[in-house]
Symmetry: C2
């Protein structure tokens, strides 16, 4: 998928919502546990109930790997289900990978080829040759961590390096890499005021924004500082939507939550772009 | 496994070699491709041929994930094979994981519980709450990236932060985390002179050292600067050992390569400890 196609989908759905799929057997509705593949059944129901309100799904690989081979099978079924039934949806493997060149090539192959995700999240610590193998894939997107939404973000990401914070250095440096057009960045919603500075460095890139909802970030604040003239945001919400109810009505309640966020997004788009 | 048990195994085998298992279908001996699970058959043969010369195996998860479910099954069979047949061996899931707290907990569950590895590699970029969930597991070890062996290491890891390089700050900060005794660190062999400074910060920790062999690092230099009075090193070699031959003699040739490294290690231990 191209960023242009993603932009068009955003305008059409009046939504830049991405739903995080973090399926935890301890949290999903108990009645699903009797099915053969509770994780897939859970994801499928959430996807069917929200696909017209969201432009992206972001399965978090940890929540599948924790269940071993069975979990990896659920991940494959989930991505296949999205690709077959809702091919316009932008898919993100939230995997936070990154390793020396030949290893990163194998991760890229895993997520872009074997599983056929549109994008994958990567960590920047190992630098250029750990990220460029991902960037080599045409019409695939590499979403690099810049400033994350957790407390630990302040351990290293905001350290002063040569007069600027490390995460800004990461953004600057990454722009010099080969095929850097295929980069997007993770920027946490818990620090909305940081978006203004970030937009000076990467005005045109899509930013994947976790931290809305359960983690406490404000949508309007993020949009105020982070939106560009092509929207340029994918706002992720996981727990607040997928765990809206533990009952048999979980998918319906997830839809209600997603609808509430989508309506807020539609209003923000209407006000900003007068459409 | 405790670090004490690992130390005892090192003295007994006169080896601190770790063999990296990076099974690439394009590189393993062609005759194995006719078997039902070429990746597992390859690993099994390498393990059987080298287990008395090495104290650790380090499967690189990328090389399994690239083959999807089949690859994940090969990974499970490989770790099970080691744990059942050579329970003294220290096992490392080279996964470079790290995410917000509840996600890191799921990764820890995946590698420490589901797959039953002794250790896993993690990336530090997201800070304390992305690493502490791994550290909570007793007698399991979390091997955090400090200074890696690739070119991109110089993009961010060596940036000056508050008067010191980022990787030194990472080492310093990590010592304050809960259960930091369960930390080990990745330090690339391509920069042997850096080990002296690193040992001032983490004198007692085990260091996992990639970059010997195919990546060009020198074993004697690394030992000169990096060894402590409990050895404190796990030196990894992957390609130089596992791809020593593409013929039916690949396991035999792998053993020859491993034996050559082990002999060099035995001599270093003898000279340093007069044993």
């Amino acid at each position: 998928m191209t960023t242009q196609q993603l932009h068009e989908q955003i305008l059409q759905k009046k939504s830049f919502l991405c739903v995080g799929l973090d399926p935890d057997l301890a949290k999903i509705p108990p009645h699903l546990l009797e099915t053969e593949d509770p994780i897939f059944e859970f994801n499928k129901a959430i996807i069917d109930a929200t696909h017209d309100l969201t432009v992206g799904y972001k399965p978090n690989t940890a929540f599948f790997e924790a269940y071993g081979i069975k979990g990896w099978m659920s991940l494959q079924k989930t991505i296949n289900y999205i690709n077959e039934n809702y091919p316009d949806i932008f898919t993100i493997a939230d995997a936070k990978r990154g390793d020396i060149g030949n290893t990163s090539s194998m991760y890229a192959k895993a997520f872009f080829e074997d599983l056929n995700f549109d994008s994958v999240t990567v960590a920047p610590y190992m630098g250029k040759d750990s990220v460029e193998p991902f960037l080599a894939f045409e019409n695939k997107h590499t979403i690099m961590l810049a400033l994350t939404s957790n407390e630990g973000a302040f351990d290293f990401q905001t350290l002063n390096t040569n007069g600027t914070e490390l995460y800004k250095q990461v953004l600057e440096t990454s722009k010099t890499w080969k095929n850097s057009d295929n980069l997007m960045y993770v920027v946490g919603a818990t620090k909305a005021e940081y978006f203004a500075d970030i937009r000076k460095i990467v005005p045109d890139s899509f930013l994947l924004v976790p931290g809305i909802g359960a983690q406490g970030g404000s949508l309007s604040e993020v949009c105020k500082y982070g939106m560009n003239d092509k929207i340029g945001l994918l706002v992720n919400s996981a727990r607040a939507i997928i765990y809206a109810s533990k009952g048999t009505d979980f998918a319906e309640k997830a839809r209600e939550e997603a609808l509430s966020v989508q309506k807020e997004m539609a209003e923000i788009i209407r006000l900003k772009f007068q459409v």
